[in-house]
């Protein structure tokens, strides 16, 4: 422990030989991986391009001029997707955290809360998202509730929030339950109330643990925000549909897909990086 890694240290012969062997093996592995990947891409690409219908598909799906002309409309639609996603994400965190806390409160007094929480999760996890969007999107405005907007956008967002909150609540619940009970005991023994212990001891620890799966759900929400297009809201997908309808060229869909990937891929990489940073190193060595 007291020795620092000295600058005077020279690897022994045996170590130099090991290092050399590892270096050669790394180069060889990388070459094999790169070669086989290129080969696979080549075979698949070749099969597609040499298929009898390729010329036609290229015209309908990969028309550069059509892509350029439809781009502004699709991009404008995407801006709506981004706003929907951001707003829904905040509401989902609030609602799902509430549900998760309801489900984790112990004691017979809290039974109705647990029942409501469990029923909510069971129902909204069981219903397909598209179905919830249809039900709320067309049924919600029909209720003509005073004070609530009747716009398709509002009810589409409501459907997203209700459906996603059921999943995210389970993520939060897992996080809350993963905090060891001894942490609660320590909080309570200091005189903290149940709520204070939850707020200052349990949730901060649970929150850190669930960030990677939450980011995963956020990536998923980014693309599912496109489903509200079925209600007629002009988002990226709906905009692409409108552009397509002009001349039955499907390139705008590819443009929309490309733009969605531009949103989700950075998010996914960020998730990976965060998870790796928070991952456990050391205990497992290099294995």
């Amino acid at each position: 422990m007291s020795d620092r890694v000295g600058t005077a240290w020279q690897p022994s012969e045996v170590q130099s030989e090991r290092d050399e062997w590892r270096r050669r093996r790394t180069i060889r592995s990388a070459a094999i991986a790169a070669g086989s990947t290129l080969l696979l891409l080549g075979v698949v690409g070749g099969a597609v391009v040499s298929s009898p219908g390729w010329e036609r598909v290229k015209e309908t799906y990969f028309d550069w001029d059509k892509a350029v002309s439809s781009f502004p409309a699709v991009l404008e639609g995407l801006w709506l997707n981004i706003r929907v996603m951001a707003l829904c994400a905040v509401l989902i965190v609030v609602l799902s955290l509430t549900i998760a806390i309801m489900r984790t409160i112990r004691g017979p007094v809290a039974f109705p809360l647990r029942l409501v929480g469990t029923a909510y999760v069971d129902i909204f996890r069981g219903l397909p998202l598209l179905l919830v969007i249809f039900l709320l999107g067309f049924g919600g405005p029909a209720l003509s509730l005073s004070g609530l907007p009747t716009s398709a956008l509002f009810w589409g967002c409501a459907a997203l929030v209700l459906s996603y909150s059921a999943y995210v609540a389970e993520v939060f619940r897992a996080g809350i339950e993963s905090v060891h009970p001894s942490q609660r005991l320590a909080g309570r023994s200091l005189g903290l109330t149940y709520g204070q212990t939850l707020r200052h001891v349990v949730l901060p620890q649970a929150w850190r643990r669930v960030i990677p799966p939450l980011m995963n759900d956020l990536v998923s929400l980014q693309k599912d925000s496109g489903l509200i297009a079925v209600l007629g809201v002009v988002d990226a997908i709906r905009a692409a549909q409108i552009e397509t309808a002009i001349d039955f060229n499907y390139t705008p869909y590819v443009v929309a897909g490309f733009l969605f990937c531009c949103l989700t891929i950075p998010m996914a990489r960020l998730t990976d990086r965060y998870a790796r940073k928070k991952g456990y190193h050391g205990a497992g060595g290099h294995l």
């Binding site: 001894s182 320590a186 200091l190 005189g191 109330t193 901060p204």
Partner: protein, 253 residues
């Protein structure tokens, strides 16, 4: 052996009368009587599973007793109308596995109860916390995370956390059992200092040397009952009960 329940005011800080506690079919505490005067150090000894930890948890109201009365500062704290959080805020509890909060630094751990429970302002909480860390010799580690400390240091932080709000009673549950042998000494030395400063302590331990040097009273717990109690030199040096002798010979073997 049993102390009868009497209504005359006593000088006891803590008093247990016929405390009973079971978990399901398992009866952990049968009829435990115990009393501690201010400034005293009472040490519970006994085999694993004899109910020592459960007894401390019952006193801290982390467990609800099945029967019997626990009186703290002259008040029956087993009465369900009593505010348990308020009672716990007047005691300090230290756990075998430290149970520090890993998401907070050392000073954050120590000042949490001051800020949230005792309504002390952040600045004052910090200075009181630093003074307490000074006292346990860890002021230099105030910004460290618990995971970066040794076991002995973590346990001293846990003691500082429990002690910072000036509790009337310290409950210490096997506080050296999870430590490497060479780290046990630093924690026991701290407890010896606290005793000499007049801190009232109820603790359980397997460190018989510590019990002999510091305890005012040693209680041998077996099968949910206190079988023998008295001065340490008597219980540890000249036990009267067969069970006590068997237990002591086992741990000394």
């Amino acid at each position: 052996m049993r102390t009868p329940v009497d209504s005359t005011p006593s000088t006891d800080l803590l008093r247990l009368d016929r405390v009973r506690k079971s978990f399901g079919d398992h009866l952990v505490l049968r009829e435990v009587d115990l009393s501690i005067e201010p400034g005293q150090c009472v040490v519970l000894i006994g085999a694993s599973g004899s109910g020592k930890s459960t007894l401390l948890r019952c006193v801290n109201l982390l467990e609800v007793v099945d029967d019997g009365v626990i009186t703290f500062e002259g008040r029956d704290i087993t009465d369900p109308r009593v505010d348990g959080d308020e009672v716990r805020s007047r005691m300090g509890m230290v756990f075998q596995a430290y149970n520090l909060f890993p998401h907070l630094d050392v000073i954050g751990n120590v000042t949490m109860a001051l800020r949230l429970v005792h309504g002390v302002k952040a600045d004052e909480a910090r200075s009181r916390g630093m003074a307490m860390l000074e006292r346990v010799g860890l002021a230099a580690k105030a910004q460290a995370r618990p995971d970066d400390l040794s076991g002995g240091q973590q346990q001293r932080v846990a003691i500082a956390r429990a002690l910072v709000a000036n509790p009337r009673l310290m409950l210490l549950d096997e506080v050296t059992s999870a430590l490497d042998p060479e780290l046990v000494g630093e924690v026991l030395d701290l407890l010896t200092d606290l005793k000499s400063e007049g801190v009232t302590m109820l603790l359980n331990t397997h460190e018989m040397g510590f019990a002999r040097d510091v305890a005012d009273q040693v209680c041998f717990l077996h099968d949910g009952r206190i079988h023998e109690r008295g001065r340490p030199e008597q219980v540890l040096g000249d036990p009267q009960e067969e069970r006590t002798r068997t237990f002591l010979s086992r741990i000394r073997a």
